[in-house]
């Protein structure tokens, strides 16, 4: 199970990459493996204001539907439009081309409440 050290995580199996104060969000390798083949991603609206924990999208596989939650509150500043034609990217490259959206946090301190890789690994191993 790939859990990059430099990323932060949520217990909903999302990852967050801090990029100059912004937060790039995706689903983890564990999440994509559990979902199976992803066939459709419902992206958030670019420009939308969201609170931490809000449902901001859905990932649908041949097996099930899984919601995407905002790992921090803020504004959606970018979405991965390539997923419309290539929804399998969270399977093939969950931490790269499979990213979902970028958030501009309203309170950057919320980023520090996320799980470090070591704690996320404990979560998925348990």
């Amino acid at each position: 199970m790939d859990i990059p050290e430099e990323l932060s995580y949520t217990d909903d199996h999302e990852w967050v990459r801090a990029e100059g104060g912004r937060a790039r969000v995706g689903i983890t390798d564990f999440a994509q493996s559990a979902l199976g083949d992803v066939v459709f991603v419902q992206l958030p609206e670019s420009g939308a204001t969201v609170a931490k924990g809000d449902t901001i999208g859905e990932v649908e596989s041949t097996k099930s539907v899984s919601e995407i939650y905002a790992p921090v509150g803020g504004t959606v500043v970018e979405v991965n439009g390539a997923l419309a034609d290539a929804p399998e990217q969270p399977n093939t490259d969950p931490y790269g081309a499979g990213w979902i959206c970028v958030l501009e946090p309203a309170d950057p301190a919320e980023l520090t409440t996320l799980l470090p890789a070591s704690r996320y690994r404990t979560l998925v191993d348990s």
């Binding site: 199976g36 066939v39 459709f40 649908e60 041949t62 097996k63 539907v65 929804p87």
Partner: protein, 361 residues
């Protein structure tokens, strides 16, 4: 409750399968290549499925044909020994489908009645016989390349015609092959003794067949427009509503549920199972509400993604008078998807007839 395991359990584990509980059986959902790759392998080449969880109730002896003729809906006079038939066990009072079944007529007075896993005991109660499920594995080889792959391992089995059955020898064991399946492709299902199952499975993989799990089995049957018990068939759902009037032996003087289905045929069905293709990739989902002209008129019974069409697809009960190409709004989980009524199988549709994907999502 402990799950039952297939005789091929160890093979699935060594292939890295994701195992899930299915009707009390621990069965492979998918292998590492994933459901879509397995699905496409079946549409374009050869896929092999372990379907040992299906029941086999063996009914033999004089009078068996007459007993099954009185009990099950389809007409055995349409076939003969050495043939296979899809049939239903109906509820006596309401004519709904208690189970859908494949019958292998293996010898003059010998029948293997194959219900869904969860209905085996109920079907056995209706037809008698012996539950021999534990004694054999059932391996389904499906796809345009299925007979080539099977022919490399068991040539006699590979030569069985569509909806025929025949005995064949494999590794010194007496086995049964039938030209049946649940994928919309040509193929063969082989019932083999438990101790012989692994050799046939491994032989098929060596011959180029790709292992496929129950996830692909479900997307394949849906794409082929085939019903699944518990979704398109079950309590309250009759063969006519499911579009399966051909499964009823209307000329037979007696069979369970006859009065109910004759009455429904005379009065006309109140709903009919139809096929829906979505305008985009998003899967339709069971339970979604179908809206036509602003009115809720039905419900999706099964839905998923069609790997061949790259569209969401589903089956739904709609009013009986809805025409092909009618546009339907499908409301699910706060989303509204546009879909169109089409004639299955989905994987043979000309998508020029469907709404453009650019209109939505």
């Amino acid at each position: 409750m402990n799950s039952r395991r297939s005789p091929l359990h160890d093979a699935h584990v060594s292939l890295g399968a994701r195992l899930v509980d299915f009707s009390g059986w621990e069965m492979p959902l998918s292998y590492p290549s994933g459901t879509i790759a397995e699905h496409l392998a079946c549409r374009t080449g050869a896929a092999v499925f372990d379907v040992s969880h299906l029941g086999t109730v063996r009914v033999v002896g004089p009078g068996t044909r007459e007993l099954l003729q009185r009990t099950l809906s389809n007409d055995l006079d349409r076939i003969g020994p050495g043939r296979a038939q899809y049939t239903h066990l109906l509820d006596e009072a309401e004519g709904s489908v208690v189970d859908d079944i494949i019958v292998w007529w293996t010898g003059e007075d010998a029948f293997d009645v194959m219900p869904n896993a969860s209905n085996t005991s109920g079907v056995r109660a209706a037809v008698g016989g012996v539950d021999v499920t534990e004694q054999r594995a059932v391996i389904a080889v499906q796809g345009p390349g299925a007979r080539v792959a099977l022919g490399a391992v068991a040539p006699d089995a590979a030569a069985v015609p569509r909806f025929a059955t025949r005995e064949f020898d494999f590794c010194g064991a007496r086995c049964t092959a039938a030209g049946t399946g649940y994928t919309g492709e040509d193929g063969v299902e082989c019932a083999v003794p438990v101790e012989t199952a692994r050799a046939l499975w491994d032989g098929l993989l060596a011959a180029g067949a790709r292992p496929a799990g129950l996830g692909a089995r479900d997307t394949l049957r849906l794409e082929a427009g085939l019903p699944l018990h518990g979704h398109e068939l079950g309590p309250g759902i009759t063969p006519l509503q499911a579009g399966l009037g051909w499964v009823v032996g209307w000329e037979k003087p007696e069979f369970r549920g006859r009065d109910a289905v004759l009455a429904e045929r005379a009065a006309g069905v109140r709903r009919r199972l139809r096929a829906l293709v979505g305008a985009g990739r998003r899967p339709l989902r069971a339970g979604a509400v179908c809206v036509i002209g602003g009115e809720p008129v039905g419900e999706v019974t099964s839905g998923n993604f069609s790997p061949v069409l790259a569209r969401g697809i589903g089956l739904a009960f709609l009013p009986p008078d809805v025409a092909d190409r009618t546009l339907v709004t499908v409301e699910q989980g706060g989303s509204r998807l546009e879909a169109m009524v089409v004639a299955p199988p989905f994987h043979r549709l000309d998508l020029g007839a469907a709404p453009d994907a650019g209109e939505r999502d």
